[in-house]
Subunit: 506 residues, 2 copies
């Protein structure tokens, strides 16, 4: 696309990244903010994407022996209070249910009535309520491991919301497991992190760094929080999934005890792990361009839209028949285990139609006019390529190649994102260079600058906090990929054995 | 089973039907009540069943053009107030959120803080919040029909709960559609009722009567409520799904307007339709026997459990290899579009193991011992038959026949339930016979008596209410199957043109 050409999304990424994000979501019709403070409406084009993520992630969980269950939406305050760090982390932003009916008050307006003896909170996460169930289900080592997942809505009251990234209500899955030994629980923590890595990289085409959170960034109540971190196109980090080793903290809080093979009563070792609709925000910010979102084929709401060109009334029937036949045959082709998802858009609205689908990010657009029918062909456009690279292919060749083309799009999206991350990852050893890197130059916008910096850190909370306060930069993780090497802390110059990943973050 | 033989569930159905129900749920490990008032925990064996219902029902919705979306959990009180009948129906039992955080109060206990300006209720159903979104999405007749479904949790505060049948929180789907004409909305109402009928009869093997609710039994705010009604084994009725024609009531309340093809501004015509985890309760009460639940194969959490007989250590390896190979091969067989779901239970706990699976209602149990291996066979037991009818079949024949056997179980369950309903459906024309029928005789338990009575009704609310007050019997529906015929109202003897279905109900 030439520079003069207008883009479908205004502003562009470089003009105003946060506003570009909102506009891309709006233009794609994936979701919108609702009149209920901080809550979003996920529209069909966004929800279909979530369903595709959900179904494949669910299959990956089940392949490791996990089963789904469902636990109450409400948590009594007394449950939340059981784990000290946990309550500190979640009491500050939760929806509290205090009454169980409405009555007509003064002026005929409805007012809360029927006060509850003990207020309930709407779950921000379910460790405590699931822990209570586990304490009843588990008696002996024979009941272990207990491997449970829940797909649910959760609520964390947010004052400043950004759609998909930070909303008061969001959808997620939360896995909760109990094990007889510490090692087994640690192994499960890493096993689920690897599931998330595969999901992010292979399904969402988002390259991620796996690592461990620092003490100050970990989940309230966890011993170890592991995570996958991705780089968005504004060079900020997004945490895309977390897997926690909870030690015996929640087992003690909830009374999850079992009799061991040696007939000793012991506390279980637990893990929890979650990923949410936030992934959709990450996907938009990884793959979107100035014309809208680009959906990776493995999770795309639909793979292909057929666009019959209906200019003359007498041609309509033959074009529509050809189109419908094409759709039927495409839907018989399987792509990674499921039929191709094909839409037909027969609206006669001119060029807007094409642009609607570009903004929605559908991987393939196929135009069908009388000329294409005459040559038994279709006119094919890839969302990840310039429109000028669209080409005519015969129908037979299209059927043969369509899944390869989709795989190629998937691969190219991942490679592009990986290249972007690598180009924006730096190894910095000098404190002044570090500060300069994270301070926007005059020529740079506040919103897009910086990147990932791999720098040495002594392990001290003070250094971490000083950097955070000064630069708004956090340690995203202590990465698992880094080799040990001798160095000095970027803040205090004390000895360090390993580099960590610093970045500004969502 | 001979009368002397002990049953797995105590009490039996005839001894104490309500308690039998609770015990069947407990013994099957499908669900349990939680410590949170009125909320249940759906355990993996119950949730798997729900997932199978959900996936197939979802496919049926999508085949009619419906797409899924997701709307906020919270509804502002002012939204609920928009439709007068609706608010009357739901304000009396709803969870009210009044605060958005917790703070340490006197004695260090957490207390609600951060009072909301406008309290929110947890959705009991979403007509009003979805109507608000629709009012923004719909501009022109070209945007219609709007066909949206949501899978969600809903809350209706219940003081007296019964697991799956009446709980404060339950899972369901709610479909919401908008149409340009009244007729189209009515057609959609019936189309979705037919989807529910198919789901109940073909997937759950529950025969249902389709019909229309009377004025006093319909959904708050609806013009017409259609429903499917099933007969449980205690001869009571269970409403298993409803589809509502809402006229323009909610369109007016929410401002759902569109410009017609004639360029006139008009209100949309809306429908809504829902089915919930209540279906699981209905399934238990339709197919359960005194040994537990029997799962219809089309929705069973698992189809087959393989039970290796591991008596001697030296045989263990060969038996387990044979079992694993059997499982692998069975999982390659497709049953109604999905792979067979196969469990292996290698616990060495004697006869308890077999009974565990009987109570869980798995359609097929397969025992595998050294003798079976020697003859290349398996020992097969059907849950719907007496254990004495178990038989040895060769492995090859089992592979060939397994899906037919499952279909046969499915068919037999449906036929058995249909026969039961027919045997317990009566045509009664005399008022005293009607009253006698619904009054337990000395020899009958309060819990199991009566049945469905097809009797004439004048259409008057007074007659309906008098019967309800005197006998606790309601009009379940005005059935669509009944022919018009001249008769007299069972209560007031005025002229009637049609019989309706009376029953006690859940």
């Amino acid at each position: 696309m030439s520079k003069q050409e207008q883009t479908a999304i205004s502003p562009t990424r470089t003009e105003n990244y946060p506003e570009w994000y909102q506009q891309v979501i709006r233009a794609s019709e994936m979701a919108e903010l609702s009149p209920v403070r901080g809550c979003m409406v996920i529209k069909p084009w966004g929800y279909g994407l979530w369903e595709n993520i959900q179904r494949q992630l669910d299959d990956m969980f089940k392949a490791t022996g996990v089963k789904n269950a469902y636990f109450p939406l409400f948590i009594p305050i007394s449950f939340l209070e059981k784990e000290a760090e946990h309550v500190e982390g979640f009491a500050k932003e939760c929806a509290v249910v205090t009454h169980h009916k409405l009555e007509k008050g003064e002026g005929g307006r409805l007012v809360p009535a029927g006060r509850l003896n003990e207020p309930l909170i709407v779950r921000p996460t379910s460790e405590t309520i699931i822990g209570d169930a586990f304490s009843k289900w588990i008696r002996s080592y024979r009941d272990l491991p207990m491997l449970i997942n829940q797909w649910a809505n959760v609520v964390r009251w947010e004052m400043r919301t950004r759609i998909f990234l930070r909303t008061s209500e969001f959808l997620w899955q939360e896995g909760h497991t109990v094990h007889a030994t510490k090692q087994e629980a640690i192994d499960r923590t890493f096993m689920m992190l690897e599931v998330y890595r595969k999901m992010a990289e292979e399904l969402l085409a988002i390259p991620v760094i796996t690592g461990e959170k620092t003490e100050s960034e970990k989940f309230p109540g966890a011993e170890v929080t592991t995570c996958i971190e991705a780089m968005m196109q504004d060079k900020k980090a997004l945490q895309a999934g977390t897997s926690h080793f909870l030690g015996q903290n929640f087992a003690r809080a909830s009374g999850i005890r079992f009799q061991s093979a040696e007939e000793k009563e012991e506390f279980g070792w637990t893990t929890s792990w979650g990923a949410s609709t936030r992934l959709i925000g990450g996907l938009v910010m990884t793959h979107g361009d100035d014309n809208g979102i680009i959906l990776p084929p493995r999770v795309a709401t639909a793979h292909i839209v057929l666009l019959p060109i209906l200019k003359k009334a007498k041609e309509t029937e033959s074009v529509m028949t050809y189109t419908q036949d094409l759709a039927d045959r495409l839907r018989q082709i399987h792509y990674h285990g499921a039929p191709l998802r094909v839409e037909i858009d027969a609206r006669n609205i001119g060029g807007t139609r094409n642009w609607d689908w570009i903004k929605k990010g559908i991987p393939l657009r196929v135009e069908i006019g009388p000329k294409d029918i005459a040559s038994n062909a279709v006119f094919l456009a890839r969302r990840d390529m310039d429109r000028k690279q669209s080409r005519s292919v015969t129908k037979d060749r299209f059927f043969e190649e369509v899944t390869d083309i989709l795989d190629d799009i998937q691969k190219k999206l991942f490679e592009r994102a990986l290249t972007f991350r690598e180009e924006n990852t730096h190894y910095i050893d000098a404190a002044d260079a570090f500060d300069a890197f994270f301070t926007p130059k005059n020529s740079e916008k506040q919103e897009i600058h910086g990147g990932f910096v791999r720098a040495h850190w002594c392990g001290g909370r003070d250094c971490e906090e000083a950097i955070k306060n000064r630069l708004n930069v956090t340690i995203r993780c202590i990465p698992f990929d880094g080799e040990e090497e001798a160095g000095t802390c970027i803040e205090c110059a004390k000895a360090s054995r390993k580099r960590v990943v610093f970045a500004k973050a969502y």
